[in-house]
């Protein structure tokens, strides 16, 4: 009898944990105080090219998922853009030349240059995102080289990273435990001041789930609510006015 109760309890805990993993996407964001105080308003954004990487983790190691990664990159970019638009933010792609006479190749090289600068601080930013408040991270005023930066308040970087576990690997995770026991996906958003290059916002949204690859097919369900929550916290676009009222 006692054993039965224990088994039932364990099953209940498992069910709660699994449902929890499905239903919620833990998310964190860090902002510069001037954003929180409303001194820096985010009403327009220049979208840097998104980059998302998926890999399949099986019993025989890691495999690339090039096609799925490409699809996911587009999905995540569209998702973030849609939620920013809903928040009342005007968007421009980083590749937009606007009134500038810059060629496509010139703009692509500027994007690369800014991405290189971002690459240099990304690791430190991930490690200590709280330091955004100390104005520790900057891409430099090279950001102004992007024609779209002239008409935007922020540059937005969208990154995604996901691991899709095969059935074998999941079973192994069930037996052995450890960090690779469930498929997981992370969406990272970074916002830089389009005039000075200073990093003013950083959000990390993570989701782990045990069955299927729903975070790829259903990114809206996975990240949608969490994105709105973070945009609200960061007082982006219309959320700033809502807080004022």
């Amino acid at each position: 009898m006692r054993l039965k109760v224990e088994v039932l309890l364990a099953a209940a805990v498992c069910a709660v944990v699994t449902v929890g993993a499905y239903a919620t996407t833990p998310s964190w964001s860090y902002e510069h105080p001037k954003v929180l105080k409303g001194e820096f308003q985010i009403k327009s954004a220049c979208m840097m090219p998104a980059e998302a990487k998926l890999s399949r983790l099986g019993m025989k190691g890691k495999e690339g998922m090039s096609k799925e990664s490409d699809d996911w990159t587009t999905t995540l970019a569209n998702l973030v853009e849609a939620h920013l638009k809903t928040a009342g933010v005007q968007l421009l792609p980083a590749t937009d030349a606007g009134a500038n006479a810059a060629s496509d190749d010139e703009i692509r090289q500027v994007i690369l240059q800014i991405e290189q600068k971002y690459g240099d601080i990304a690791g430190k930013l991930n490690k200590k995102p709280k330091d955004i408040a100390k104005a520790r991270f900057t891409l430099g005023d090279e950001v102004a080289l992007l024609p779209c930066a002239a008409k935007s308040d922020v540059l937005v970087f969208v990154e995604g990273e996901g691991k899709v576990l095969t059935g074998g690997k999941k079973s192994m995770g069930f037996l052995v435990g450890g960090p690779n026991s469930a498929s997981n996906a992370t969406l990272i958003l970074t916002m830089a001041d389009a005039k000075t290059g200073e990093i003013i916002g950083f959000a990390r949204l993570s989701n782990a789930e045990s069955f299927g690859t729903k975070f790829v097919d259903q990114s809206e369900q996975t990240f949608g609510k969490a994105l709105d929550k973070q945009f609200n916290k960061m007082r982006i676009g219309l959320y700033l006015d809502k807080k004022k009222h």
Partner: protein
């Protein structure tokens, strides 16, 4: 007690070698298979698909250096190294320059050979480039990419099975002492054999590199290039690695030591030199790869590799002293060095110093690093020396051509850094007048100018 220890040791050994030797045998079989016997399976086709996707990504992101003359040059050297060997199945050789400051080259199994701008800016001659292309094409001919992937998959599967076995080992208070000892032995055996397998993955990779060196030497010699050039390029790689801190230095290395590779290439060259070997003069070679060197200097400056930027720009200016673009690139590099010395000190070069700097590189931003350097006893003097060097170079360009806009721009940045706002404003204005709104960075300079004028007016008011 002694008997028990022996038993445990034997169990560990049995588990370790019992598991690893069949896998090692399987992998060795792969290695011995001739490339001609290679047959595609589903996994290889997936790898091929991924490689094609990587090619497309590089193009889409603008990472390929688009310069028709440089492309034609790479194609001609590549074609010469390939000779009349037929391409293997599903291989189409393409030689490309990749915008990347890291000094490296790599080949994808589909035949795409990438040489980074970092490596192109380090090499001295066409024969050295031929050696690099010979080595990389050998990887493709020998199907190393596919074979390594197959080998890694087998080893990964074994490691995972070992982990499952180890997790099932008896642990806890409910087991007898003998069972617990057996469990500990199983866990230890699994851990040891996993490490052996990981080491064997790197060992296999090193073996492939040796084979590619050997085949590359044969290919370049067949194309009448001097094989000693490959030995020289290993020496250059070794020397260059001491200029910047290697970002990662793993316990296992997937390439043999550069000194060993150099010795091997020299030994080959003594007995296999062609009758009239082509080497190519440094100036001719640099003349052909200058677009790559210029792109590399810019990437170096964006990636905190200022010392490399100074080194490469110095090479350009010493061979082509009258080209203002190269003088300005060198001046930009000196300006970006800030308080950093252009060559690492002995303290920075030793093992401890390198480890310290690697740690700082990952934990400090560029601004924090400069602040730390300025706090050192020789920091302010180094900063001043670098700034003086930059100013001299900018001014020398303007002396020959007062309309050279990039020199005005550079001087503006330099004076602004030094707090000489009035001088900086003059230079920025000169730049803006010369580019007349056509340059991509005019907005950036206009903003800087406006900010400085604001500071100047504030100081007058006060």
């Amino acid at each position: 007690m002694r008997c028990r220890s022996v038993l445990i040791t034997l169990t560990v050994l049995a588990i370790t070698f019992g598991w690893t030797s069949p896998v090692s045998r399987l992998c060795a079989q792969d290695q011995d298979k001739a490339a001609s016997e290679f047959k595609f399976n589903d996994i290889d086709r997936q790898v091929l698909e991924d490689c094609n996707a990587i090619d497309a990504q590089y193009g889409k992101k603008g990472l390929l250096l688009q310069d028709p003359d440089l492309q034609a040059y790479l194609d001609s050297v590549g074609k010469r190294v390939l000779g009349n060997r037929p391409s293997p199945e599903q291989v189409q050789f393409k030689f490309r320059a990749l915008r990347d400051p890291m000094v490296q080259a790599f080949a994808l199994p589909n035949g795409s050979v990438y040489v980074t701008t970092g490596l192109l800016s380090l090499l001295e001659s066409e024969a050295q480039l031929a050696g690099v292309l010979g080595h990389e094409t050998a990887h493709v001919f020998e199907r190393h990419g596919y074979l390594e992937n197959r080998s890694v998959r087998k080893k990964a599967l074994t490691i995972n099975i070992l982990q499952i076995v180890a997790s099932a080992a008896p642990v806890g208070p409910n087991f007898s002492q003998a069972a617990l000892l057996f469990g500990a032995a199983v866990q230890l055996g699994a851990a040891v054999s996993s490490q052996v397998l990981v080491a064997s993955i790197f060992g296999y990779s090193r073996e492939m590199e040796r084979q590619a060196d050997s085949d590359g030497l044969k290919a370049m010699t067949a194309a009448s290039y001097d094989p000693t050039a490959m030995a020289r390029s290993f020496q250059l790689l070794d020397e260059d690695s001491k200029l910047e801190y290697e970002p990662f230095q793993g316990f296992y290395r997937d390439h043999p030591k550069l000194t060993d590779r150099r010795t091997f290439a020299l030994a080959y060259a003594t007995t296999n030199k062609p009758a009239n070997p082509i080497n190519g003069a440094e100036k001719d070679f640099l003349g052909k790869v200058t677009p790559a060197i210029c792109a590399d200097i810019e990437s170096d400056l964006n990636s905190r590799r200022e010392r490399t930027a100074v080194d490469r720009a110095t090479r350009l200016t010493s061979l082509f002293p009258d080209v203002p673009k190269y003088q300005v690139l060198l001046a930009d590099s000196y300006r970006s060095l800030g308080a950093k010395a252009k060559i690492p000190s002995d303290d920075e070069r030793n093992r401890h110093g390198q480890a310290e700097h690697r740690k700082e590189y990952f934990s400090m931003t560029q601004q924090e690093e400069q602040k730390r350097l300025l706090g050192k006893p020789d920091g302010p003097a180094t900063l001043q020396a670098n700034r003086t060097q930059a100013e001299t170079l900018y001014k020398s360009v303007l002396q020959s051509d007062p309309t050279y806009s990039q020199a005005h721009r550079g001087l503006g940045f330099l004076y602004e850094d030094e707090g000489k706002y009035a001088d900086a404003a003059v230079e920025y204005k000169a730049y803006l007048d010369l580019v007349a709104g056509t340059s991509i960075d005019h907005l950036r300079i206009e903003r800087r100018l406006a900010a400085m004028q604001k500071v100047a007016s504030l100081s007058i008011t006060h």
